[in-house]
Symmetry: C2
Subunit: 403 residues, 2 copies
Amino acid sequence: MFKSKIVKLVVNDVRFPTSLEQHGSDAMHSDPDYSVAYVVVETDADLKGYGLTFTVGRGTEIVVCAVEALSSLVIGKTLEEIVTDFSAFYRLLTSDGQMRWIGPEKGVIHLATAAILNAIWDMWARAESKDPRKLIRCIDFRYITDALTEQEALGEVLVFKKRGSTFLGWTRFKVKVGADLQDDIRRCSLIRKMIGPENTLMIDANQRWNVGEAVSWITTLAEFRPLWIEEPTSPDDILGHAAISKALVPLGIGVATGEQCHNRVMFKQFLQASALQFVQIDSCRVGSVNENLAILLMAAKFKVPVCPHAGGVGLCELVQHLILFDYISLSASLNNRMCEYVDHLHEHFRSPTVIKNAHYMPPTDPGFSCEMLDESVQKYGFPHGDVWRSILKQKGSQDNFSE
Amino acid sequence: MFKSKIVKLVVNDVRFPTSLEQHGSDAMHSDPDYSVAYVVVETDADLKGYGLTFTVGRGTEIVVCAVEALSSLVIGKTLEEIVTDFSAFYRLLTSDGQMRWIGPEKGVIHLATAAILNAIWDMWARAESKDPRKLIRCIDFRYITDALTEQEALGEVLVFKKRGSTFLGWTRFKVKVGADLQDDIRRCSLIRKMIGPENTLMIDANQRWNVGEAVSWITTLAEFRPLWIEEPTSPDDILGHAAISKALVPLGIGVATGEQCHNRVMFKQFLQASALQFVQIDSCRVGSVNENLAILLMAAKFKVPVCPHAGGVGLCELVQHLILFDYISLSASLNNRMCEYVDHLHEHFRSPTVIKNAHYMPPTDPGFSCEMLDESVQKYGFPHGDVWRSILKQKGSQDNFSE
């Protein structure tokens, strides 16, 4: 298996018309069609890898185009070549002398990198087991050695500790805020009453505010005792998040962010500046497991809990692996730790997440759990799958729809 | 002219095979083919707009794909609608409820935004004149009001001051460093001898180093008295640049960065953290004049000189307008200010830059100076222009070449 050579990379634009029912809309993303750039890597042996990155509709074709552009760096490599020095392969993908310019390590080209690397990790997980030293060698430490060295990283990887507690049901709930203050007060009040004083409320502004605006708005909502405010301002504004964090200390409210934090260099600074109190990693925004390992290790070193972003399509399937690694090998604690979950679109995966008593159950199938059903890929393929053909026909034409 | 409606947007992938002669290569971009995603916006009247964003070869097709995806937001609009509330149009392009996800305001999608907005500015400049209040209304102040408010911005726009001094020739020179310390010492020593003690030397590492590494490397090169070190580490690392800046104060060396700084929120923090001493704006990386106005105004408020990045293809043509605005309306000083220049590829433009006595001469043709010659667009079009057909044929096949 290890000697298998990658001979083909297929990428599909798969979109679910979730905007028709307003699923997942928020203050900044009003009409998302949950979508994926779905990658299948084929080898000359009986081994495949399945990966994806998550998008919200229009623009998925740009990510597909970027995956195709990167594919020449992947085809012809053996799994052995890649994983023997995985950080070198990571750097090959992210540092191509020409394509690096249109990132670097951010936006479309990094989403494409994530999709491809997710497929490689899936393939590797299907092929063999791993050890901590191999994991550390997957990380590109460039630009983060001032926060975490290779030696320190190895020290952070602790032995397995037995899970100590369980929760009996869902106890943590999130409300979207930021569009209208009076309406936010109404909804937060209602939900706090519904869930009672003992359960946890979190609020999410999806980057709606300027820095000063965030502080005053959250101060008004403080009476509902949210654990955190998520994405109060621009995902790029480290110093802004630091200012907000500082202002919220007296109110006992933390700042959570990360679902649009674009790489390890940004997470490093959020940690260095005490700009967040909850690290929300995402399985598809940064460079797959490789870069998420660096982020998890830095969070462990800075003693900040990790609470992954999930939902979308496939994000729960992917990120459950990362949070299990964090629990088993790094934090060994559930204190202030949770993993987002949305019960939506799991039926399109061959090994969907299993939730029992409001907990993710460890996946049992080999791989990274994001292989999709062939019929889903066909049916929801954009724009030629049955579902889209019918929607676009109803809308009159594809041009009208995309406007 | 003002009522002209945009009816068509054409985007071309134009690449110059500069890697064949190793033009423009640096520590991180070893084989650039200087390229552009070249946009022509057509109206129902006798008015067109020409814009571009700069790339270095592979991946330009991804930017082209992104321009096409954004084009539906532009077609059908009149110039009047756009410029009457230009910051709203800017936000429309950068905040599409679906495409925002694959940025936001960074990487491929932001380069595409830049190309389109550059064409709109070109069109507007051809159509009519502007006043300061209109300029301020072009800026999206979201996420930067903690550093600069609309009111303050208007205050920064000063009256024209007469240019006070001229230079007789080229007096400032830049050396690429970062690949090999002994070789850097050799070349810096040589160039310092050539240019004498009175002229200015600058060094550029193109993001080669980690933070600690940068400080020690630059310390070794301090004896050659560089004015600045450019891009010492990751363009995303605000706190890293701040640490490097602080360490270099005793050596009298400043930090310059910005050519890969992806938006106004990042520049805001570089200024807030005193992480740079020279702001290197780029005409194609951020959202055109709109976003560069915000950056120029913040730099003026923080009293940090602006020294634009240029070179590439068309960057000199575009950025000369921005630096003239900075000089005339904001800084009114040439102290520590300069604008990069490379004498390369200007022959493909209808109104190329004019340099006299090592100074940019103010452009006299209406527009943003990036209209290309039709024959250049044809000949260097990728992959079907004559030049590429011949190169790809020699290389055997396009597939082999792109690997």
